[in-house]
Symmetry: D2
Subunit: 310 residues, 4 copies
């Protein structure tokens, strides 16, 4: 067990590490890369790490299925924080390299469409070859295999490289969302700008039951921010739904919706309530505030006593 | 104040009195007729009577608007019991009268369509004239004004008359539903076959908001047995809805639906939970039993503690 | 058959006659009172009258059940026009009568709450006695039975009376809605501010099916302006619904909703599309205009040909 | 342009090729592998190939995002057929190899969990190393790099190998669904067991609008068989939905739902109606058959002429 060790989807120098370092507590933790999302989360399950930072969603690529599936299955885990990181690349080269010297470039395959525009404007002749990660690309530049690597600017020092150009990205800039995952524990207090993640399995074998699921949220005025279907592994057409809802589990509208889903779904997994990285306060529809829930409960008690007017 | 006096929509000898006498406790109460539904309910409000039996719904005529409006407005009242009475008429005559002697008949206007078929088969030449109530018609027969009155068989002795024919009714027999209304008090315990009455005002000025109201019931699996729109008196297109729902206010699905309506409606009035006269147990949709509500609440508590798997 | 005769709920001098006279074509028609709503509508069915004006809804009393039930059952009829009439009373007296001379007053029972406030301010000592109609009260004043009648100011000349006070009404003034009913025929062209009336029977024996019915309207963005449940006469809990929807049957959103209801309801009766008396144009939600329906149909055709992009 | 050339996600010997060969017309086509899903679909767009078979969904891995995204963006394409292939592996070895000789094995990373159970039972000591595809693994066995490859049995002859064991798969056997994609053209006639694929963009920036989208299907009784959210690339929380619905675009319930979505969504892309591989006939809810749609349209026409009773 290590309460001071945090792991992340490695290797060192990736955007995941950069995202992790934006968290204040990261400064006082030992940060250890894991080779894969399952490895990172298993390290948390086994107690080797207190928490793991893993990507869960990207504005270009969509849901990170390894993360979604790991959170839905196996020993339960909980999300405690989220981090949003705009993905912008630097062209990292060995010290002294000029732009004209760059003949070969590398990076993670996902990086390629993000830097294509910059390449055709600035290095139209350069040859691209993919690497296993942006950090790997940087390492291969360090080793002399390529002339330039597209990676986060923060990776430069790690591999003894220098950024020749920075803030390279596609016109519509990409953002990746990461979550800090730990073993289940007490939910943190609401901040007023929170998000609640959960996974629901449907009773029926077709997504028609999805409408019923969404109505449990809608009737209590709870907005959904993300919904992603994932196969349950039990055959084509068998899905579970990974959902992010606006609000905190201690918000009455959220807890009533979750309980409604618990009643109609064969299986539900609560993945945590945590502060929204964008700090946007929840929009509370009239009739769905905690005060209105309390007032309605008071009224119901009075009704039972014959004093229900109001 | 009189705890032993019950009033009812009079005069004596009406179906309302007959309905009241089907209640066991009626045997030990002083039963006093009132001249109108408002008068009967005001007697309850003022304490002159402990309860009032009034008609609320008829399978042919529909809702009794005087009752619906009196329950929706003014000092709150509560429904404690309901009585269903099939409406069948007897032809009451003075002793010694033979069918051939009956030239003129009377009854409440509502009775006329119910006995029309019998009249054309048995007394095709008889002249009909309406009376203020079936009991009034009987009194007028007693006084010699008419030869026969269509009224409840039970009214015969009251007016010194004899039934010449009984069980007269239209092919599809009519039923009237009566409610026993008292001052608000503790709701009786659920019996498993209960009904909950309430009145809801809509926030918007068009019945589109009605859909939202119905969804509060539907999402919790609560069946509606009766819904009636009534004007609020504040202009055309301004309605409130009088609703009977299956189940008891202490059933979790019912109480959550009522609280949901309290949150979204500008005004709600609880009119009581009481045993169904037909004793049909509530149909409980999967996911809406009290046990499932409790289990969901337990799960939610465990979620907050990080032990939510299940 | 009489194409020039219009009938109305009489007697002469009632608000119904006044409402009928607000229609321009009334000037060129023979206007004949009927003794009841069924009588008025039967006169239309038999061809004795070309049309009948009958009250259908009152902002204080609610739906006029005789009208609703007659339109729902029997030989079909259609609504061609509606008239809204604010109900304000005049105190009609014999010429020469001063306010101080008025000791007894009369009117229809419905008028009483509307004039109560005026009476207590101006004639606190006057004795009220109800009459069968406001026009009857006027006749009884003419005959010297009462000193004053509360009726429409327009009734004065008919009975040789004079208005001693006018515009008498309750704080929240009452409005009655009347409909002009004829034999079924071609629907008039839409005006942009129309209303469509219909009656729907539910497949199930409880009003839960009502939600499904309302969704047929809601999903096409059609607002409901009035919904009224009426017993079908086949036993308690058996209802049909009388509905006024915003828009004209030739509006695509309305016709698609009506066809949807025809598919799911065991019985539907179309009662007509006609201009709104208040001339308020229909609110057309984005995605529900005729242009958008046409554009969607064009797109569908293109899809079938493999040219569906857009 | 080549009307006789079909391409597929290569290399030769993969399950995609096996799936393609299950289509009768494949026998008369030139089958050419493509290096990626985008390459296969671009070959169709450019006319190099008449059609492409690509995987779209796997019961274990979920949606194939490359296929979903390529179908949603760029020059429109259409789905004409689907193929379901149960994924079962054979252990392919060089002729003469005995089980005891197998020390190293290879396969696509996705294959590994599917064969893990078989490996631990039969070759607990064997060392696994991943290859770029199952077919690549077979080639590497041919070249002597590994002793055994997990691939489709059909790949054996292609690489001069022999199956040492067959029908190897996880307890819950995996199925992959492939689609045959071509340039847009006329939709094939309905078979009674069809599926309709489309992509919808939401007007709002949160998935709450999803409920409205699902109701367009639900109110017309159209079942959804698959729904998958995909980022639009315009930022986190911006989704489109890839949907498979039961039925054919020429089924009235399906076409009306599609037109409804065309009206409320800023963008819709029809991806085709095609026979279900499982040949299960569509379940048609009462009130949603073509006959009922036609009957409702006839009724509406009669209503406009004043003959709407029924």
């Amino acid at each position: 067990m290590s309460a001071t060790r945090y792991t992340y989807l490695g290797p060192a120098g990736t955007f995941t590490e950069a995202a992790l370092r934006t968290l204040p507590e990261a400064a006082t933790r030992e940060l250890v890369p894991s080779v894969s999302v399952p490895a990172a989360l298993d390290a948390v399950r086994s107690g080797e790490a207190a928490a793991a930072l893993v990507p869960i969603e990207n504005s270009v690529e969509g849901g990170v299925t390894a993360t979604l599936d790991e959170l839905a299955a196996g020993t339960p885990l909980m999300i405690y924080r989220e981090v949003l990181l705009p993905i912008a690349f630097a062209l990292l080269v060995r010290p002294g390299t000029a732009l004209a010297d760059v003949k070969t470039v590398s990076g993670h395959p996902v990086a390629q469409p993000q830097v294509r525009r910059w390449l055709s404007a600035n290095l139209p002749e350069a040859h691209w070859e993919s690497a296993a990660s942006n950090a790997d690309a940087a390492r291969l530049v360090q080793e002399g295999r390529f002339d330039g690597a597209f990676a986060g600017e923060f990776a430069a020092s790690l591999y003894g490289l220098e950024p020749l150009a920075t803030d390279i990205h596609d016109a519509s800039s990409a953002t990746t969302r990461f979550v800090l995952v730990g073993r289940p524990g007490r939910t943190a207090a609401p901040t007023g700008a929170d998000k609640t993640s959960s996974v629901f399995w449907l009773a029926d074998d077709h997504p028609g039951a999805l409408l019923e699921l969404l109505q449990e949220f809608a009737v209590r005025g709870v907005n959904l921010m993300r919904i992603e279907s994932r196969p349950t592994g039990e055959g084509l057409g068998q899905y579970c739904f990974s959902v992010d809802a606006e609000g905190h589990i201690t918000d009455r509208r959220v807890s009533e919706a979750l309980m409604g889903l618990h009643r109609i779904c064969p299986k539900v997994r609560f993945l945590g309530s945590y502060p929204r990285a964008d700090k946007v306060p929840a929009e509370v529809r009239p009739g769905t505030s905690d005060a209105e829930f309390s007032s309605a409960a008071d009224w119901l008690s009075r009704c039972l006593d014959g004093r229900g007017e109001g």
